[in-house]
């Protein structure tokens, strides 16, 4: 596995792109997708390391991350729908009830 570094670089790039997306977009669903992108970047790291180290634990971890991501998607999207029903908007800036 000489190309472990390659995978890690790809993963870092994807993670950073995801971060930028989360921090610059207003659309809640796009933000959500960017978070998924970040999670996937981490998954890639896990799998790459798992293969490099010859240990399956990392891949099991990826499996659990996927489960959590699925649960997150279900609940998160349901929340977006509920939010949209209330505010007629999916703009994250409209969700500001928690301010001072």
């Amino acid at each position: 596995m000489d190309n472990l570094n390659n995978y890690l670089i790809v993963s870092a790039v994807l993670f950073s792109i995801g971060t930028i997306g989360v921090l610059t977009r207003k659309n809640a669903i796009v933000m959500f997708m960017c978070i998924e992108l970040m999670l996937n970047a981490v998954n890639l790291t896990f799998v790459a390391f798992s293969r490099h180290l010859g240990n399956l634990d990392g891949q099991i971890f990826v499996f659990f991350i996927m489960t959590v991501a699925a649960a997150e998607a279900a609940v998160g999207l349901a929340m977006f729908i509920a939010f949209f029903n209330n505010r007629e908007s999916i703009d994250i800036d409209d969700a500001n009830l928690m301010k001072w």
Partner: protein, 667 residues
């Protein structure tokens, strides 16, 4: 052997629970009263059975611990729910449950038609339960539970007519003064436990263990501290100088309460406690002297106040304080048996007197109510000549009065004379003995005087009740009279179980049963006294002489009362006119209450007010509010960080993660 002892306190507890929880629903007075009386009567039956079993044992084995379960364990400290059955506690059991039963029966008649009838019986049963715990508990902690329990019940029952402010105040007063004493009790317990454990490695508060190790205690020193603390507790509970002022005020409670709690049982708890720890008290000459002097002074002092009171119950209250003083005198001179003996006889005749006065008040109240008069039903100046309306009450009352006055043949004579003799002849206090005896004898004179003054003013002479009311006076129902008769009989014959050796020898070798019976309890104390004091010999002639003196004193007192209140009633008025200041002082109880108010209560109040306005409001509240204001001010600024924009939160989070990772990376 004594497997069913736990039933003794259980019955009143059950009675308390039934009446307390369901009494409001039951409503029927007969059922409530029967439950209450039956609960105590069942305890009495079990107590009698226990007593019979106990005297069946050889006298050396008459001390049995019955453990029910372990209450608490903490390190070397261990306290059980366990009962100690020995002659002393057994005697107390009989007195408490026996007289308790009679007073419960009496209460059914006396409290008839009162609001909160069930409440009264619930409290009474709770009281009996606590009292039984107090006398049977085999360790100081359990005794303290009973000790506090009876204090609580006393408070509840004194304040039974809580809508009357004076009753509520009296309850509070009793409670607070008792707390002062309880503090002493606790300190004594702690010191005892700590000292014995520290110096000898024996960590115990159990009476039998303490008695076993009594010889480890030195004479004086720490024992004086311990016993004085305990004695402070006793002065609170048993109304001795300086903590006696609550007892006369406690007469605000219903009369059966006064009879049961403030005459026959609870107030003797202090005497019982000293008797229980006689082996400790005897080891401190200083404490013994304090106890004896305080007892004698109380006996004398309370008697003087008793001579000038007009409220029938107050006279009896001061009489109780005085008689309790005798018991402490007996304890202080090492005559433990005599003290317990007087405790028992006093319980008989004082209960009888209180119940009799209750019958009188009951009748007076009814009669005055009929004619719509607001005269005080307890004021003896409104009574007089009641003997022809209430012959049974009069008869029993007279018997009890004779007993307390100390006429030979009645119970009071034997016990009181024994105390006076011991005060005179004891080997502990040397030349102080004359003073002790003198105070006791003077108190006896006054006792005979004021008790017969009470009888004459109440039952003899012309009837001074409001015109027209006298035809409504009537004898009380059987349920009230029956306990009176039983108690009168007991006051008459109760003394024969403790005949002095002198008289016993004279009439053919009747032994002093009580002394033999109680011997194992006081064996340790008596042995110590034998070993450490020089027992002077007193001739029989001297003893006969003193006995004769006390009889003469009693007769003189009675005659004085007769002359002053029957033969020539104008003399007291002249006397009062001649010495107005003295009369006012005595009538106002020597202004002791006012003195306490001035010296203790008002300074405490002022201090409290100062701490409230000065410290609490300004400093404590200031700090608390200040902290709140500071927090609010900061919050007012910092809250603007909460923008509600997810972007800001996400950015801050990422920034934080970057900083943390960066820190570890460049470290």
């Amino acid at each position: 052997m004594f497997d069913n002892v736990w039933l003794i306190p259980l019955f009143p507890l059950i009675g308390f629970l039934i009446n307390g929880l369901l009494g409001k629903k039951i409503k029927n007075e007969t059922i409530i009263g029967s439950i209450g009386a039956l609960a105590v009567f069942s305890s009495f039956i079990v107590s009698v059975m226990t007593f019979i079993k106990l005297i069946g044992l050889p006298s050396a084995e008459r001390s049995v611990n019955i453990k029910i379960f372990t209450w608490m364990t903490a390190g070397t400290f261990n306290a059980d729910i366990a009962f100690l059955i020995d002659p002393l506690s057994c005697l107390m059991l009989l007195v408490v449950t026996g007289i308790g039963t009679l007073i419960h029966i009496y209460s059914i008649g006396y409290m008839h038609g009162e609001e909160g009838f069930y409440r009264f019986f619930a409290y009474l049963n709770l009281f009996v339960f606590s009292m039984l715990l107090l006398v049977t508990g085999n360790n100081l902690l359990l005794m303290f539970v009973g000790w506090e329990g009876v204090g609580l019940c006393s408070y509840l029952l004194i304040g039974y007519y809580f809508h009357k402010k004076s009753a509520g105040d009296a309850g509070k007063k009793a409670f607070v003064m008792n707390r002062v004493g309880d503090f002493g009790f606790l300190l004594g317990t702690f010191t005892l436990f700590w000292w014995l454990g520290q110096t000898h490695g024996i960590w115990t508060i159990q009476f039998t263990e303490l008695a076993k190790n009594a010889n480890l205690f030195p004479t004086g020193g720490v024992v004086t501290v311990i016993t004085l603390c305990f004695f402070l507790g006793a002065t609170g509970k048993s109304a001795q100088i300086p903590l006696y002022t609550w007892l006369p005020d406690a007469m605000e409670g219903p009369t059966p309460v006064s009879a049961l709690i403030h005459a026959a049982t609870m107030v003797t708890a202090g005497v019982y406690m000293i008797a229980r720890m006689s082996y400790l008290f005897i080891r401190s000459p200083e404490t013994m002297m304090t106890v004896a002097v305080i007892g004698a002074c109380t006996a004398f002092f309370a008697a003087t106040i008793g001579t000038a009171q007009n409220d029938i119950k107050r006279v009896l209250a001061y009489s109780t304080v005085s008689q309790l003083g005798y018991m402490f005198l007996a304890m202080g001179v090492g005559a433990f048996t005599a003290g317990v003996f007087h405790l028992m006889t006093h319980a008989f005749f004082k209960a009888c007197l209180f119940l009799g006065s209750g019958a009188v008040i009951h009748s007076m109240h009814g009669a005055l109510h009929h004619v719509h008069s607001h005269d005080d039903a307890q004021d003896m100046r409104n009574m007089g000549g009641l003997s022809k309306y209430m012959p049974m009450t009069y008869g029993t009352f007279l018997v009890a009065t004779i007993a307390i006055a100390g006429i030979p043949g009645f119970s009071g004579f034997f016990s009181k004379d024994e105390i006076l003799w011991q005060a005179f002849a004891n080997p502990l206090h040397g030349s102080l003995n004359m003073l002790l005896w003198g105070l006791g004898a003077c108190a006896a004179l006054m006792t005979a005087f004021y008790m017969f003054r009470l009888v004459f003013m109440t039952f003899h002479g012309t009837c001074r009740i409001k015109a027209g009311a006298e035809k409504h006076l009537h004898e009380s129902p059987m349920v009230i009279v029956f306990p009176l008769i039983v108690l009168a009989i007991l006051s008459m014959v109760g003394g024969y179980i403790g005949l002095p050796k002198l008289i016993g020898d004279l009439v053919g070798g009747i032994p002093n049963y009580l002394e033999h019976y109680l011997e194992p309890v006081f064996a340790n104390a008596n042995a110590y006294m034998q070993a450490h004091t020089h027992h002077g010999h007193h001739s029989h002639a001297l003893e006969w002489g003193l006995m004769g003196t006390s009889v003469v004193i009693a007769v003189v007192g009675i005659c004085t009362a007769y002359v002053l209140y029957i033969a020539s009633p104008e003399i007291p008025k002249k006397f009062t006119a001649a010495f107005p200041a003295l009369h006012r002082a005595v009538y106002n109880k020597w202004y002791i209450d006012e003195l306490y108010d001035f010296m203790l209560v008002n300074p405490c109040k002022s201090l409290g007010r100062f701490l409230w306005k000065g410290f609490d409001v300004l400093v404590v509240d200031g700090i608390v509010n200040g902290v709140a204001h500071v927090v609010m001010a900061f919050g007012g600024v910092i809250r603007y960080m909460q923008t509600g924009q997810i972007y800001n939160y996400a950015w801050s989070m990422t920034f934080g993660v970057v900083v943390i990772i960066g820190y570890y990376l460049f470290k």
